[in-house]
Amino acid sequence: MESHHLNPHRPARANPLPLRRARGLHPARALSTLFSGLTALATYLILAILLLILGHLIWAGRSVFDWRFLTTGTDADMFDIQTAGILPMVVGTTARVMVMTLFVMPAGIITALYLGEFTHAHSRLARLIRGAVNNLAGVPSIVFGLFGLGFFVAFVGGSLDEVFGGPGVEPKWGKPCLLWASLTLAVMTLPVVIVATEESIRAIPSSLREASFALGATRLQTIRRVILPQAMPGILTGGILAIGRAAGEVAPILFTGAAYYMARLPHSPTDQFMDLGYHAFILATQSQSIESIQPILFATVLTLLLLTLALSIVAMFIRAQIPRAHDAPM
């Protein structure tokens, strides 16, 4: 058992690398700085584009965008700057987004739960379902519109009419309306919700599931008390993304529920509705002179953007409440 003392007569080995910074530009460091600069530039560029668009919209629509514009419009001439109002479109867009959310969230969560909890990440079934979901995400929106027309409006709606009405009765279900448009949108945004939900479910470590099972919980109890609460932020993110996507879509609602003009606000799921995006399209293509309605057009688009933002903020606010939820008894 010898002790080890440093030999004072033998100096430590000289350090071969000099500590002082070499003069001139070090190539690796210069490249790194350049790269950081490029990423910052890209970020600011995108911000700038966003601001540019927003600014243009605000500028171009400023003469029309006021309180009256936002709160009236049911009886007015849509093409007249003085009387145009977009309340019906705001109501219509909001309604269809909310009804869509009502359908897409449960369906998406349940599908994702099946994928995340009851299948292995790489099992054939899981890959099949995930493949279908991915393909769904790549389908052009107009195709959804045609699908909605053929399936929801004609088939489901028509069948419902046969069951509840009789031949010759005015069709109640078998026509474009809020319900079918929302369902079509739900089908379109389903992949977004499924993917976001499945990701957050898979992110939950299996040690938590084990802990729950070891205490004698069933699968359902574990899902209800551990998995869902912890996945909720991710699920809500999926919802936010779905809302953001759906609010601006026009093609899927073209044949399934959007109306060129309605005299009154929609008050039942079987009513048609007016829509901000569709209205912008109408203004741009159906007006006599493009210059005269240009302010209305920009104001409409601005309203759509602001509405989408507002809906997203509401959803984000709900999501931000989640960390407190773990105190509440399940």
Partner: protein, 269 residues
């Protein structure tokens, strides 16, 4: 459903009551896909004593532990053979409700896994699962469980704060409190202190010694000296087989098998 005669070695502890076998495993073999993890293991677990499972990595000790609360069933490719009796019921019998089994046989894991909920809700989780709702009862049991786990004094003023804010050692004691809240008969511990620093480890070991008077404890450990400190019986496993099972003092002072002696003195493994 008769139990076989006990394979319980003579205890050398100073406890006056002779040990009775609470769990009896006979010829237990476990296979995961094509890998044989356990080969015909037979032993008894003495009621209200601590039994330690030791052996090198991959020897099957954790696999056997997880047989007692049928947690291996969570793995699709697992096959279990042999019988395990808890008191006089065979736990794989079709009439046995695995939920009930897990209420009686609790588990604490190697890496502490508290739920991302409050401290209170963590301990109350099992109680709520099984239907307890009365706030007064919950409060009582939560407090007594935290006291038994030597954690009450440290958390009594912050029961509704997140469990994730506790230190590693505290989290592990919380998991122990959570397990004992539903008053199991048996507590299975899979290397409960291996991720903790020496002081926290010591507290867990003291806790195990305290819990011994009310619970039957099985502890898997790779630290032999921990086994010498806290267990009454020790089982040594190697490559899926039970090599030797005896009172702890005999295994570590004078083992019967050379393999055991070699492992215990660090000559291999």
């Amino acid at each position: 459903m008769e139990t076989s005669s006990p394979i319980l070695p003579q205890a050398t502890t100073s406890r006056p009551d002779g040990p009775t076998a609470l769990i009896q495993a006979r010829n237990v073999s476990v296979r995961f896909g094509t890998t044989q993890a356990l080969r015909k293991v037979s032993l008894d677990l003495a009621e209200r004593h601590v039994t330690a499972f030791i052996g090198p990595s991959g020897c099957g000790k954790s696999t056997l532990l997880r047989c007692f609360n049928r947690m291996n069933e969570l793995i699709d490719i697992s096959f279990t053979e042999g019988t395990i009796h808890l008191a006089d019921t065979e736990i794989h019998h079709p009439d046995v409700d695995v939920i009930e089994l897990r209420k009686r046989v609790g588990m604490v894991f190697q890496k502490s896994n508290p739920f991302p909920k409050s401290i209170y809700e963590n301990v109350a989780y099992g109680l709520r699962l099984h239907g307890t709702r009365d706030r007064k009862i919950l409060n009582e049991i939560v407090e007594s469980s935290l006291r038994s786990a030597a954690l009450w004094d440290e958390v009594k003023d912050r029961l509704h704060e997140s469990a994730l804010g506790l230190s590693g050692g505290q989290q592990q004691r919380l998991c122990i409190a959570r397990a004992i809240a539903i008053r199991p008969q048996v507590i299975l511990m899979d290397e409960p202190a291996s991720a903790l620093d020496p002081t926290a480890t010591m507290r867990i070991e003291e806790l195990v010694l305290d819990l011994r008077k009310d619970y039957t404890i099985v502890i898997v450990t790779h630290n032999m000296h921990q086994a010498t400190r806290i267990s009454d019986y020790t089982a040594f496993f190697y490559q899926g087989e039970l090599i030797e099972f005896d009172a702890t003092s005999r295994i570590f002072a004078n083992p019967a098998k050379k393999q055991t002696e070699d492992y215990v003195t660090g000559r291999f493994g």
